[in-house]
């Protein structure tokens, strides 16, 4: 796969149809793979990588890259194409300036889950017939592939590319996913239990803003949380309000625009299940205003910029569920 991608990228760079390539490159370790922009065949040969850890959604990088001169080649997994569609719809990305090659999606791996098994000193990870061969400083270890899958890939919603110019590999289908199970479980708890759950989770927040920075829907040039006068622009010691404010508003601002790519939870250094907040909004929108998948197309109206005269009153929240 990696070879096929590099080969195609080189061809497109050589005939001048694209100026830059967005993909992934290795970081300090084999598993900390980071998005990168490549401008020459040599760079591609040296650094380009595509393997079980290339989970980052690179569509957000197009906001800046597509404004530069010349076309950009981008490799997108199915889930990433939803984000691109959403960005195109919001006029954040100039789709004409982007050449999309669809590549097969995950499942991708979570290094933390491998570490949780007590495996340290990891040098490389290979997938052989759904068994991971992990080479470490202390010898080789193995573990089942399914035990190390990223949470966002474990509840994958779609393997279908919603936008692409060409495909490498096969296109998949929209899947039946169990992604709302955890939201439902929380909804069935009492208010006190939910409060305790979220206080425990959100109090871990260190306000690194990684969830905001990685989110392909969070592309405001000026963010309300960068304003020092707001009183919530950074971590306040011993105060939980600032965490709640940040996380409610972060999730609310992408409500109806969130494609559920799961990047917020993936990048969280404190492992807060932030995607649950986004999924709560998605679930509510689906049940109250009709099924809606952000990024599935570039023409539909987002639920929060639309209305009908027959919409339910907000008192519905007071009437349903567990108190």
């Amino acid at each position: 796969m990696q070879e096929a991608m590099i080969k195609r990228a080189k061809e497109l760079l050589a005939d001048g149809s694209v100026k830059r390539v967005i993909g992934w490159k290795r970081g300090e370790f084999a598993y900390d793979i980071t998005p990168a922009v490549f401008e020459s065949a040599e760079e591609l040969d040296k650094d380009f990588v595509f393997d079980v850890f290339t989970s980052a959604n690179v569509s957000k990088y197009l906001v800046k890259e597509s404004k530069k001169e010349g076309k950009v080649l981008v490799f997108l997994k199915p889930c990433d194409t939803y984000s691109l569609n959403q960005l195109t719809k919001e006029h954040r990305v100039d789709r004409d300036n982007v050449y999309v090659i669809g590549i097969p999606g995950g499942p991708k791996l979570d290094i933390e889950k491998i570490r949780a098994k007590g495996i340290t000193g990891i040098l490389s990870v290979r997938n052989e017939n759904f068994t991971l061969k992990i080479e470490t400083l202390y010898g080789e270890e193995t573990m089942p592939f399914s035990d190390a899958i990223l949470d966002k890939c474990a509840s994958c919603k779609s393997k279908k590319h919603v936008t692409y110019d060409e495909l490498i590999g096969e296109d998949g289908d929209i899947l039946d996913s169990d992604r709302f199970d955890m939201v439902e479980k929380l909804e069935n708890m009492t208010a006190q239990e939910r409060y305790d759950f979220w206080r425990e989770q959100l109090s871990k927040c260190i306000r690194c803003n990684a969830c905001r920075n990685v989110c392909p829907a969070c592309t405001c040039e000026k963010c309300v949380f960068d304003d020092p006068a707001s009183g919530v622009e950074n971590k306040a010691a011993a105060d939980s309000f600032e965490e709640k404010m940040f996380h409610i508003i972060r999730a609310f601002h992408v409500a109806g625009r969130c494609t559920d790519c799961g990047e917020c939870s993936r990048v969280c250094p404190q492992n807060i299940p932030l995607h649950l907040l986004n999924r709560k909004f998605i679930k509510d929108i689906n049940s109250l205003y009709g099924e809606y998948q952000a990024g599935a197309d570039t023409t539909s109206r987002a639920p929060l910029t639309d209305y009908t005269a027959e919409d339910c009153e907000s008192s519905i929240v007071h009437e349903r569920g567990v108190e």
Binding site: V183, L186, E187, A191, Q192, E193, R194, Y195, D196, F197, W198, R199, V224, G231, A236, A238, D239, F241, E242, K244, M245, I248, I249, A251, F252, A255, L277, K280, F281, D284, I285, L288, Y289, P303, L304, T305, Y307, T308, A309, D311, C312, E313, S314, S315, I316, V317, H318, G321, E323
Partner: protein, 148 residues
Amino acid sequence: MQVNENKEFQPLIVAFCCNWCSYAGADLSGTNRLNYPTNVKIIRVPCSCRVNPMFILRAFQRGADGVILCGCHPGDCHYTSGNYFTRRRMTLLFSMLDFLGIERDRTRVEWVSAAEGAKFAATMNEFTEAVKKLGPNRRLEDLRCRKQ
């Protein structure tokens, strides 16, 4: 939150009222000599859809125990469709607050027209009682803003 001399809890209620209907409704309840609690502090907004979810959280941060949002009845918005957007927005916000375990009776949306002075007073009486029962807002308060 205020505590008066006999230590009875007096909630602080923030009411966002739209300029065209609910604010006029509040005015009418005043000219009709109808009583509603002094706990209610009205903030006039040009339209109920002017209220950003952050305003509501901000009110709780600064010590409100309950927040109520009043606007024109659906279909009667001075700007044609503002309150329809409010309705969707607030439904989702309240649902999220509920999801986080914040007491659901601390927030409410009520449609009050300029002719409904009596409804305004009744709504405020009822809402203040409900919040009084819940007690001080502890789950969504900012300790830095608490008055000594």
